[in-house]
Amino acid sequence: MGAEVRRRAAGGRIDRDQTLDFVFDGRALRGFAGDTLASALLANGVDVVGRSFKYGRPRGIVGHGAEEPNAIVEVGAGASCVPNLRATQVELYNGLEARSIRASLFQRAAGAFGRLLPAGFYYKTFMSSPGAWMAWERVLRHAAGFGKAPDGADPDTYDRMNHHCDVLVVGAGPAGLSAALEAAGWGARVLLADEQSEFGGSLLAETRALGGDSAAAWLDGALAELDASGNVELLPRSTVSGYYDHNFLTLVERRSDHLGPVAAAGTRERLHRVRAEQVVLATGAIERPLVFANNDLPGVMLASSVSTYVNRYAVAPGKSLLLFTTNDHGYRTALDWHRIGREVVAIVDARESPAGGWVAAAKEAGIDVIVGHAIIEAVGRSRVSGAAIASLQANALAGTPRRLACDLIACSGGWNPTLHLGSQTGVKPRWSDSAGAFLPGDLGGGTVCAGAVAGTPTLRGCLEQGALAGATAASRAGFGSGRTTRSAPEVDEPPETPARSLFLVPHPKRVSRAPKQFVDFQLDVTASDIELAAREGYESVEHVKRYTALGFGTDQGKLGNVNGVAILAEALGKDIAEVGTTMYRPSYTPATFGAIAGRDVGGFFDPERHTPMHEWHTSRGAEWENVGRWKRPRYYPRSGETMQQALNRECLAARDGVAIMDASTLGKIDIQGADSAESLDRIYTTGFRKLGIGRCRYGLMLHEDGTIFDDGVTARLGEDRYLMHTTTGNAEVVFAWLERWRQTEWPELSVYFTSVTDHWATAALVGPKSRTVLAKVCTDIDLTGGAFPFMAVREGHVAGVPARVFRISFSGELSFEVNVPAQHGRAVWDALIDAGAEFDITPYGTEAMHVLRAEKGFIIVGQDTDGSMTPADTGMDWAVRRNKPFGFLGDRSLDLADHLREDRPQLVGLATDDARTVLPEGGQLVDDPECRPPVPIAGHVTSSYYSARLSRPIALGMVKGGAGRMGETVHCPLADGRVVKASIVDPIFYDPKGERQRV
């Protein structure tokens, strides 16, 4: 059938002046602006859009929206291509390239193969021999024919936007629009989202008049009013994909997909994160297909979809229509078909005596209405060519089937409310006998359902209920009285005869022998599969879902689930209500990873924190180390230098001359109040009460269980003021720790904490010549050892800037840590570099810092400790004062029997016997290198470096009972099979008396 036959000459919401060329599975085709890919394919006479999942059967377009199970396509090319889109939801653009995800030869060949795959095939095969899955997975995944994820980096931009609104209206059909108008009228902040490119929902294909005018005119008026309202935000092309707790919802807005690949310009998709006071769910309903033999033949469609293609897209997807319905509403499709002058072969109505207004209209139009009958089987090869119908009494067939010729079968089995979002919140849908459908469960006071999703069958009813929902939601959010202020437009609603429930059409052969009666098109689940599952003992609908794959596809069973549940109920002899539905989960339709990631990619993935001297380090070619979010220079290689050479140079400069390090990242907390010392005494193992003003003290911070979690130096700045240093990575944790104890346990203490980490820029000036260098730029502090001793702090000016200078040392050398407000940090750093130039001042990074401190046996919390170590384990009993009046956090736990074991891992130094090999950090230590597994582990290496000063490797490690094993040998087996011998030594390798830092 040619394109010219299928596209009507006039009508629809397409723009015939804008032709669009596109390619589907290699075929060049043409459509119009306003088309979806599906409507354009139908207009071009493309019947087969793919092969089925399991049986390789030809499949055509069934629906016109999110429910489409067959026309699953991959759109675009290269890295920006998107797999798994429903052709019914892809807006056509010029140059669009689409491929069916299930058109491979594999699928075509699958027909014979698929017959060997009964329900539960995977389960039966792979539960008995689990190893087989590993071997077969690749083949089967390919055979499954889902779209292929592009392998290049996504060139497009995605982002996120947050919203707060009084009323979020989901769905801009008649109910949603009415709700939005009403809520906006009361002054509520309204967000109206709809997944389609145009607002209007079913009104876009409506042929009746609303309030005496066309549906299109009413729609235009409503949209203009919403647009003019200052408190409504309209979000077309936005799928509400997730409905989470506390009325938090996510919407995926497709901003540029309808324009084609426009990688560089703007945002492709935007994830809206909505926090709504009230949610109006006006998501409509999806027509229920009818399950009969060979109901998957191309040319079998939903009745509402046929009407939508005819009315909205001006496409007639066939010549002669046979309508199969269980309700009055379906008659409208035959009337639409008749109106455009095409042949209606007959209306097959499963009911005995339908008598509603639409029925009368059909009869009046001369359409043959065959009551009390059903289509029992569709006939055709790759397209419907006819149907077998038979008389249907109660649930059994009567008489002899007869054959009718047609090329299109429209099915209307009633409506399934689109209740997925409500179900996502964890509220099970409930079966309603009167509606003949599952309806949303009780969603609580924050949600109102309106229109077809609430089971409302008529347009007039949807308009009215929508308005009431809008008023109710607005009122609950604090706007208005809850009464509607506007009357719904008049719509001609003829009386209707009750619908008949028909979930599985009988066939002369029994279900297991009849031609396949498909329930779930996407995953090829048939009525007989469900009956088989029931026979094999499955009762829970959730188990049957997993066993048969019913509703497991990317469409989450939007078409098939209810029929499947009903067939299961029948097989189990239960009520549908008793069986219930499976749970629907986000996302309503598949969402891209891009939308979820938003802008948090590349340079925005995780913020980098920079010190005021960052650019200087960059200009000096620093290699970086990430410490928490901070960027710290790791070392500064000169041209041609290896990392080890740079480290040697930096370390020796600190030991012999003068070196400088940016220590701004250390956590700093200002502590004020009369109980500052008491607080510190409770937090730290060390005592602070007697610390003199202007003096500093090292402290260990323990958890309640007595294990070390932070350390640092605290200085007493005044009578009631201290400054605490924390490790870089722990600054926030320690601050929260202090506030937690102050606020929740010790409110009686007069103390305040303020984070000043960012306020201070810190330059650590290190080495025998550091005093000389500092003296050049600091004239108002007496830097001599007598006036300014080790572990003291002085205030003065450095390079003309008010500064605090600490004589503390993490290197064991004479050291001055110069602190200035960060806004002056770079200038003061530059001044120190200038002052040190004549002494070849050497910047050093964290790696040299590690070497210098390891030479001194100083631990790094988190490297040499692992959260299980006590002060005694690290040989730092000297920093613990057990006789404080209040005690300190972790104090009592130090007496736990386990903490007192003598064979606990203890900090030791490790010296390799060959004096050449640098042990690997993390290397395991054993006593007997010949021992066969399982090998008892004596300990492990925590820090290990080459020391340029000592001209040999040094290492720290934790060894069981290590403090008592000085001089003994341990062995470190390496990955390459070598075993390195090392002696247990004192962890202080250099200047054990600490004389150098005190000069």
Partner: protein, 177 residues
């Protein structure tokens, strides 16, 4: 002439920032701040006061950020310290803070892209302030009478923050003054 930008970011230099902690019920605290900075400490959570060159932002039940234009943080800290008595804490945090002013017709959109907080004028009218998540950092955001917003954030995040702002505002037209 090109379109006026939807978002303009302006640096607010030359300000002293002092973190104040104390008991708001203690008149000595309120009086000292009023005397030194000429501004009343806001008692209403999530609000800020302005007087002449000074602003006081509520940060918590016992914590405020005092901003004084054209002054020195250490000196303001010193003056407050002399004027105060009892249990309090005053700390110069000028080095911590970067202060920007965001204005323009699309500033609300950029805030929506950056923070889950509700900055709509109905919820966040002039006079309100909030410490909140801003992209993957944090910021103090304050609504001003002229429709612009004051944004105060940590210096170490400035590079990330300014790149984020420029990126989020690009679609509306962005100018950095």
């Amino acid at each position: 002439m090109s379109e006026p930008p939807g978002v303009v970011c302006r640096e607010c230099p030359d300000r002293a920032f002092v973190n104040v902690r104390g008991d708001v019920g203690d008149p000595r605290l309120r009086d000292a701040v009023a005397q030194v900075a000429g501004v009343d400490l806001p008692r209403e959570p999530g609000t800020w006061n302005q007087a002449d060159r000074s602003r006081a932002y509520w940060l918590g039940p016992d914590e405020w950020l005092l901003v004084v234009e054209g002054d020195d943080g250490l000196e303001v800290e010193g003056r407050l310290r002399s004027a105060l008595d009892g249990h309090f804490s005053v700390v110069d945090v000028t080095g911590t803070q970067v202060h920007k002013e965001l204005s323009g017709p699309d500033v609300g959109k950029v805030l929506q892209k950056s923070s889950p907080y509700d900055f709509h004028p109905r919820h966040f009218p002039p006079g309100r302030c909030a410490q909140t998540v801003f992209a993957k950092a944090t910021a103090l955001v304050a609504a001003r009478e002229d429709g612009a917003f004051d944004i105060v954030f940590r210096r170490s995040y400035a590079d990330y923050f300014m790149r984020w702002l420029a990126d989020a505002a690009a679609e509306y037209g962005y100018r950095l003054d």
